[in-house]
Symmetry: C2
Subunit: 397 residues, 2 copies
């Protein structure tokens, strides 16, 4: 009646096999800069303009001919005539950004001047180009400003806008089908009361849906599919127009666990059984070139699979470079015991400047994640950590 995992692939190896099969999407769309945060440029951007496009004052003060200020100092100020243009012996008021008058070549900052009537007393010498921004100083026409694949941040939108660009070509977001499976599941929309014994509310799909959106995918959150191979097969086939398919539940080795075998029957099952705890029943496969992740039904195990495989998978599809992992170094308030041969995902809470492992938290206890601020990963070959050990803490986002 039961089958047992024949293999147990390491996390790194499983991820490698999975990512090898995923190609970045090439579908693009053009969007307005107002919506570009978090999107990925599909083409490089070469500036069609100089920025600034005119020679401008970089400070508030007086545009002058630098040669007129030779030797000026507080003790020996140079007197210039306030004027509406610049020629020998004259000064022209400029604020930051003003176009420099033609024959001027420097700005004396206002702090180094005293103006009485139309006489400007200059108390500091300036060299040519002092406090002047040259044409193209920030960006030169024909400069390559962004390469294709650049991840757009709000400050990048301003750079693009400064070049007169209003719309950019970006990669489309990957469409990720989220398919909850399980005879025991009840839709939250269809029930107001506590479900009968043996039945539970569908919640993993909701969590998955929200992480997909958070990580830059477009989620297609499907209805519940019963635990039989034919229904699961139909649900997968109906979503082969998506860019990734996530089957939640039915990944273990029980009689109702059909997701991995369906993947195997429709395409290629790359990995089933991963050396991570919780999360071991996770399966990874490919159907019609579409990556498929079978997420364990236990919510914490599902969360682990989301972090370890779905997030990098979405990033690969979306051409998002993996950002450097940001971790906090924290000392443990209590020891962690860990299962050798598995990467152990340990939930932790902050406690002052240390972290406390949530021990005794089971894979089914999603409430332990709600309590947790972050997690610590104990490598496969480490038995655990002692109280006081410094560990890398990842935040749960």
């Amino acid at each position: 009646m039961g089958r047992i995992f024949k293999e147990r692939t390491s996390v790194d190896e499983a991820l490698k096999r999975f990512l090898e099969k995923i190609s970045p999407l090439r579908k693009t769309e053009e969007i307005s800069l107002e919506f570009c945060t978090g999107r990925v440029l599909a083409e490089s951007v070469v500036s069609g303009r100089n920025v600034p496009h005119y020679r401008r004052a970089a400070m508030d003060g007086y545009a002058v001919r630098a040669s007129d200020t030779l030797g000026a100092s507080p003790a020996n100020p140079v007197l210039l005539q306030l004027s509406d243009r610049v020629e020998e012996g004259s000064a022209f008021w400029v604020h930051t950004g003003t176009a420099m008058p033609e024959s001027s070549d420097a700005v004396v900052v206002v702090e180094d001047t005293v103006t009485t009537g139309d006489i400007v007393e200059v108390k500091a010498q300036v060299y040519p180009n002092r406090n002047v921004a040259q044409v193209g100083e920030d960006i030169k026409k024909s400069d390559l400003i962004f390469e294709a694949g650049h991840f757009l941040r709000p400050c990048d939108a301003a750079v693009l806008a400064s070049m007169g660009i209003d719309r950019v070509k970006v990669f489309q977001k990957p469409v990720v089908a989220v398919i909850p499976t399980g005879d025991e599941l009840v839709s939250r929309e269809k029930i107001v009361d506590v479900p009968p014994p043996g039945m539970v509310l569908e919640t993993n799909g909701l969590m998955t849906d929200l992480y997909v959106e958070k990580w830059g995918g477009t989620s297609r959150y499907m209805g519940i599919v019963p635990d039989n191979p034919e229904s699961i097969k139909k649900a997968v086939e109906a979503n082969l127009d998506a860019d990734m398919i996530l089957l939640s539940g039915g990944t273990s080795v029980g009689i109702r666990d059909h997701a991995p075998e369906v993947v195997a029957s429709l395409g290629e099952l790359l990995v089933h059984g991963i050396a991570v705890s919780p999360g071991k029943p996770t399966a990874l496969g490919i159907v019609d070139n579409i990556p498929v992740v079978c997420l364990p039904g236990y919510p914490v195990a599902g969360l682990v699979a989301l972090y370890f495989f779905v997030r990098p998978g979405i990033r690969r599809l979306a051409s998002v470079q993996n950002p450097p992992e940001l971790v906090l170094k924290r000392r443990l308030v209590a020891k962690i015991s860990s299962k050798i041969g598995y990467v152990n995902f340990i939930r932790v809470v902050f406690e002052g400047d240390r972290v406390r492992p949530l021990t005794g938290a089971k894979a089914g206890a999603l409430s332990s994640v709600a309590k947790a601020d972050g997690f610590v990963l104990v490598p496969e070959n480490v038995e655990g950590y002692e109280e006081g050990d410094e560990v890398d803490v990842f935040l749960i986002e």
Copy 2:
């Protein structure tokens, strides 16, 4: 003609004075769990249910009476009768999540059994409650699950859903008015060609608008306001229904820099002139209890003010706890020279496992931010760092 900064407040002191004047918003709204990521709970959540709400199998296998398995081992298996209920000597097939039959008190995992016809050979002894999830094991009815002020993540949505909750009361997002000021500014929407000399495209407002949204505010991105006190005053007064007002540009001490004086005339100017480079002309104030930030017009200085003051201000309004600062420890490829008396904001790019400071990048050069992966802050009392020094790198998001 020019005024000089009388004071130069430290970043910490400026932020302290600003945050002291900001009260978290108390306006709430009810939203569906589908949209709760990144929102903040306005009330604590007490569970109205037990989760699980029934005693369930935690593994696939056979529900039994633990006492029936006494002494079972591979060498001495106990034989039980496969049945559709559990009484002395019988076993009932369960998969993970099945409601436990009434008189059963443990599950023998499938791996420890061999079933032939209706005889189940049990090869391991189990203790009472083994592989059984008790009612309320994850969440007990009346348990406090989240406190008011909890920042909601996708995994939290699943926890809420598991308690039968579909909608949550959250704090409203702060409405942040973004007001670009400057006679030299041209709206990107109104121009297709390069602006005339002395005129520039409005881009700081766009950057500000996108950061406000990214940091959890609702941006109200206004049209360009000319550089005169009366117009700026009107624009501020027209936005006193917002929760925060950002004036971009006109913060320095030139004749066209009116934003801080307008704030002073309408309310209280808390700080003008901050010991950060770039970003010195930043001003902070309060009008009608509404926090106002005057952002320098130089784009990098504006970015610094956004990071240092607007982000914490929005978080305070939105009741978002400041998350722990995530930094990368990296060694410098080249030295950094820094101005004593100022926190220096140094843009850096990754270069292998080190970072290179973008030296010579001026405050006006937003393109240097586009190139930058992150920034390093050099404290006020530090002259700089040497090549090879390890520094904290903040990512530019």
